[in-house]
């Protein structure tokens, strides 16, 4: 019964979205609607559709929890003998449910936009809500007509088929919702961008209004990608924390352009320059987000992370995608030339650094896009050819090195608009001031360089103290680069504390930039060590055998089994390999128990790694198989600085969150 109401709510949301789009986007004059009437109707519709789609989604969650197997989605992906957490997260562990989650977040963002946006920007808000309604309409239609999560089975089966064991993981509970939060968050910035194109106006107030949404979406996307990377890191066979897999690349593309977008918005807000470029990024980021969600589901690209795909749905998706690309870019091409060029700025200035940031990020996005779609491009000419990690390393990383160089310095540069009367800057009276400024700049750069070297040396010494890693010159130089970035973030904070006189008076925005930049620096340390300095061995051991991996010595103590126990939330048979980590004197430091699970319902097995997280790195053990010769196959590894990668990401998310809060407050101040 509940699922009937949920289904009804979902269907009702469709005409509602149509009405919202029509009222918001049709010209008002011939219909003599007052702006106020129009705004209240559109806002009401946005809120109602958020409520309706929430009902639909909660209805589906309820069907999963209660085990209503008369619903096809529930039957295929759930089972009564499954822990509650996985019953809930199983709701979006399948195509239909995850699309519904996507639409839910879309509707919730629409509802939020209808509550914020203010009196002064009535027209902008109404049109943006109109665009938002069009997106909702398209994806609701996609959900209802091709991926209806409420499809019935008659007669209803008694038991479900169970969730794919690989998905019975905390990663599924967290990663998709956050990733979708990021993807869909950019629908609001897209809607506001299209609304600005329609109105032919994108001033500083517009940028200020867009920024909190962009920051919010960026924060969600960063968290979503980081969690996905973490999941792929500990789940065996998924290629580690980053493998340049198409699915990973597709989530990275909107992140790259979204990062460029939040930075170019700053320039627009400050000086009105870069307007057209920023509008372009606003459009492109959401188009890439749609691409990211749906190319994965269309099965167009072969990926290790691909799940149930249905090519027949792919056509619908490509249709939506083509339509949004044609309409959005068409509108952009038609309207953009009407925007007046903004003010200029000096090359060495905050604006200049931000433009460089945009150039590096978008070129980087370009080479990743090309590499990801290379199989499809070459297939058009015959044989599909794929490119792997070496291509991405060779073409993408060269743009990240200068990006990082500029990134650490950028926040110190002053905002600088170009004077319209050339000559005044060169007046002789300013010579000494200019020399002093140059001196300060050189001193700052030297401080940063020393700090970068010091940080790199500290990290390298720590790693050597722990073990004897093989470290090349390139790795050491990359560490200096990471130190440069971390140092830049730290110095930014120091400078802002000095300028405001007290750490409690440092603005949220300053905390945001320091945390995000320093966080990336820490993450880069983790990336470098985690990809270049891993020590790993796959060995066949019998109980009592010892083996050395890097500075670590392991001994297999034994293997034990545990039977299915629904009361303990265990719907599988487990085999544990107890592996002791030995210290220098041969004593047992700790025992780790990597696990193999066998799921009788689906006849699948999974490998659950045991990870001992220390602040300098992870001890990562996996129990692969029992070999025919009687031994046990184990993969034993030492992965230095991996925790830094995720700690760094956490700081970036924190920085993003504070940035969103700061941007939010600025909008509030503007309204008063």
């Amino acid at each position: 019964m509940i699922s009937e109401w949920a289904h009804l709510a979902l269907i009702l949301a469709l005409p509602l979205a149509l009405m919202q789009a029509v009222i918001a986007l049709l010209p008002a004059e011939p219909l003599s609607w007052t702006p106020r009437f129009r705004q209240s109707v559109v806002r009401g519709a946005a809120l109602t559709s958020a409520v309706l789609i929430s009902i639909a989604f909660l209805g589906l969650v309820y069907a999963f929890i209660s085990g209503d197997f008369s619903i096809k989605t529930t039957f295929e992906h759930s089972h009564t003998a499954k822990p509650l957490l996985y019953k809930i997260s199983g709701t979006w562990g399948n195509h239909e449910g995850s699309i519904l989650l996507w639409v839910l977040i879309l509707a919730l963002f629409g509802g939020m936009l209808s509550l914020r946006g203010g009196q002064r920007h009535q027209d902008l808000q109404v049109r943006a809500l109109g665009v938002q309604a069009l997106i909702t309409l398209a994806f609701l239609a996609f959900t209802i007509f091709t991926s209806n999560p409420f499809e019935r089975l008659i007669p209803a089966p008694i038991e479900g088929r169970g969730l794919n064991p690989l998905l019975q993981d905390i990663g599924l509970a967290l990663h998709p919702p956050l990733l979708y939060f990021g993807y869909v968050g950019f629908s609001i910035t897209f809607a506001l961008t299209v609304a600005a194109l329609l109105r032919g106006e994108a001033d500083q107030a517009w940028a200020r209004l867009v920024r909190p949404w962009a920051m919010l979406a960026w924060t969600g996307l960063t968290a979503g990608i980081a969690l996905g990377s973490w999941w792929a890191y500990y789940e065996l066979g998924w290629g580690g924390f980053w493998a340049w897999d198409p699915v990973e690349n597709l989530s990275f593309l909107p992140w790259l352009t979204g990062t460029a977008f939040i930075h170019s918005l700053m320039v627009v807000e400050k000086s009105g320059a870069l307007r057209v470029w920023t509008l372009f990024l606003g459009v492109v980021t959401f188009v890439l987000a749609i691409l990211g969600t749906f190319v994965v589901r269309s099965g167009l690209l072969t990926s290790v992370h691909a799940f149930a795909v249905d090519p027949s749905r792919g056509v619908f998706i490509l249709l939506i995608l083509a339509l949004s690309v044609v309409v959005a870019f068409g509108l952009f091409a038609w309207r953009a030339p009407q925007f007046k060029a903004g003010g200029g700025f000096a090359p060495i200035s905050r604006e200049g650094a931000l433009v460089l940031n945009n150039l590096f990020l978008s070129t980087g996005a370009g080479v990743v896009l090309l590499g990801t779609f290379f199989p499809l491009i070459t297939e058009a000419f015959g044989q599909p050819l794929t490119v792997g990690k070496p291509y991405f390393d060779a073409t993408f990383l060269p743009f990240m090195v200068p990006l990082i160089l500029v990134m650490a310095v950028g926040p110190f540069l002053p905002w600088k608009r170009l004077r319209n009367h050339p000559g005044t800057d060169d007046a002789t009276g300013k010579d000494s001031a200019a020399i002093a400024a140059t001196r300060a700049r050189v001193r700052g750069l030297l401080t940063l360089l020393v700090l970068a070297l010091a940080l790199a040396v500290i990290v390298i010494v720590l790693l050597h103290w722990q073990s004897e890693p093989r470290m090349s010159v390139a790795v050491a130089l990359a560490m200096v680069l990471a130190g440069w970035l971390l140092g830049g973030g730290l110095l930014t904070l120091v400078q802002r504390v000095r300028a405001s006189g007290n750490i409690t008076r440092v603005s949220l925005a300053s905390w945001s930039v320091s945390l995000a930049h320093a966080g990336l620096g820490i993450a880069v340390f983790g990336l470098i060590a985690g990809s270049a300095m891993v020590q790993e061995r796959t060995v066949n051991l019998s109980p009592g055998d010892t083996v050395e991996v890097g500075h670590l010595t392991f001994r297999l103590e034994g293997v034990r089994e545990a039977q299915v126990d629904p009361a303990a939330g265990r719907n599988y048979i487990a085999a544990f390999a107890d592996v002791a980590v030995l210290n220098a004197s041969g004593g047992v430091d700790k025992v780790l128990s990597p696990e193999r699970r066998f799921y009788p319902i689906r006849q699948d097995s999974t490998t659950e790694a045991a990870i001992d997280v220390t602040w300098l790195g992870d001890v990562f053990l996996a129990f692969n198989a029992q070999a025919p010769n009687g031994g046990y196959v184990l993969s034993l590894s030492w992965r230095p600085l991996i925790p830094w990668l995720y700690f760094g990401c956490l700081l970036m998310v924190l920085g993003g969150g504070l940035g969103a809060l700061a941007a939010w407050r600025r909008v509030g101040r503007m309204r008063q």
Partner: protein, 141 residues
């Protein structure tokens, strides 16, 4: 003379152009060594591919062909709907969903003596997913 605004715009536009040119150069240099073609066992037998060239071999694991002694070095045979076969060797941990009769894509090189050395194995994640290339070439079952 140019105004400073035009000059600054020119600077940024040429910098952008430079960036694109750099990207094109990098791609042109990085691509030739990195292209991995997809082949089926039948195609592999028909083509004369030099050993050491990385390629992606897709097919179904022949039932009864999988063998291992120590659980680390693995050997199995791949086939496709046209009947070609190819022996594959792989060393390391097998993916969880590795099973006889199932479609996989192995990335690796020919060893020059009739075998294929796989560096990575891509199996499907769940029963409903089949890599696109395999749908076309190996969907005999």
């Amino acid at each position: 003379m140019m105004t400073s605004r035009v000059r600054s715009r020119l600077l940024w536009v040429s910098l952008g152009g430079l960036m694109v040119a750099g990207a094109v150069l990098l791609i042109v240099f990085a691509l030739p060594g990195q292209l991995n073609a997809f082949r089926t066992p039948t195609q592999l037998a028909a083509l004369d591919i030099p050993p050491g060239k990385t390629l992606r071999l897709g097919g179904l694991i022949v039932a009864g062909s999988y063998a291992t002694e120590d659980g680390i070095a693995h050997r199995f045979t791949l086939t496709d709907k046209d009947g070609g076969t190819q022996v594959v060797r792989y060393s390391g941990a097998l993916p969880d969903l590795f099973r006889e009769g199932q479609g996989i894509i192995a990335t690796g090189i020919l060893d020059g003596v009739g075998g294929f050395d796989a560096k990575t194995l891509l199996t499907k994640h769940d029963e409903a997913y089949v890599p696109r290339e395999l749908r076309d070439h190996a969907s005999g079952q």
